[in-house]
């Protein structure tokens, strides 16, 4: 079983991390796909809002968890001086690349799922492009905050 714990140099993750990331993503989009629509149908927007907070919150705790222990946000390191990630979703080369959120699973999974259920992907292209541009701008905006002070 030890091979599961040895990092694969090429991808910066251990085999166990590949498995947990895959299932962490799949579980999130599955729960959203089944529950959210029906919750909004049954309870209207208020129910949908509170339920969405609970669904995303609980699954966030499972998937992303804090890379450290306790309040304060210090990073725990393992025997090889690598940061320990406590969630199911493991970032490859942690701190080497940008953050991959569990939102990717929801975004891609719901889109592909609706295509599987018969929706048209061509009609969604304008909205998809607009959403991608919007997300890029929003993220860049928050990144700019780090330039508001001199280093």
């Amino acid at each position: 079983m030890d091979f599961l714990g040895t990092p694969i140099e090429a991808i910066g993750m251990t085999p166990a991390a590949v498995i947990t990331t895959f299932f962490g993503m799949a579980i999130f989009v599955f729960v959203v796909s089944i529950c959210w629509g029906k919750l909004v149908e049954d309870f209207g927007p208020a129910g949908g809002m509170m339920a969405s907070g609970v669904i995303v919150g609980s699954i966030w705790v499972m998937n992303h968890a804090l890379p450290g222990v306790g309040v304060g946000g210090e990073f725990a390191t393992d025997a090889a001086e690598n940061v320990i990630q406590h969630g199911l979703i493991q970032q490859s080369f942690i701190f080497g690349g940008p953050w991959i959120d569990m939102g990717w699973a929801a975004a891609v999974g719901l889109w592909v799922g609706s295509i599987y259920a018969g929706a048209s992907w061509k009609k969604s292209i304008p909205s998809l492009v607009a959403a991608i541009i919007g997300g890029a701008l929003g993220g860049a905006l928050v990144g700019l905050v780090s330039y508001t002070y001199a280093v």
């Binding site: 993503m25 599955f30 919150g57 909205s127 890029a136 993220g139």
Partner: protein, 131 residues
């Protein structure tokens, strides 16, 4: 045209709120902060983007979720931030696995909604049989 502008704005706002609020709360309150952040951000963003319809989804078009805003913002935030020395190529393994896992989960969810007996709408014949 305004539909596409509002979709851009909706995705930008959830992308910005996600990465401005979540890390701060998680570092202050630990794991519970992450939970609190999702309640604060996702609820009102769902209401704005999907219930009020800011992120436009055509009838019969594939569903473009507000999660696209968060997903892409995660990448651009990491690339624009100053204090991190990031290389985009290093996020690709997790990204590929994320897309595969997302597709698997999404298709499984839709397949269950299509075939599972608990999700079939009762037709007139079954209600007549019950009477």
């Amino acid at each position: 045209m305004i539909k596409h502008v509002s979709t851009t704005i909706g995705a930008a706002i959830i992308g910005a709120m996600g990465f401005a609020i979540w890390p701060v709360l998680w570092q202050t309150f630990g794991v519970m902060g992450g939970y609190l952040a999702s309640v604060l951000v996702v609820t009102v963003m769902f209401y704005m983007n999907h219930w009020c319809g800011i992120m436009h989804n055509e009838e019969g078009a594939a569903w473009v979720d507000m999660a696209w805003g968060i997903a892409i913002a995660g990448i651009t935030w990491g690339l624009v931030k100053r204090d991190m020395d990031v290389n985009f190529a290093k996020c690709l393994p997790t990204l590929v696995i994320a897309i595969c896992g997302g597709i698997a989960g999404g298709i499984m969810g839709e397949a269950i909604k299509k075939h599972h007996p608990a999700f079939q709408k009762p037709t007139d014949e079954t209600t007549k049989e019950a009477e």
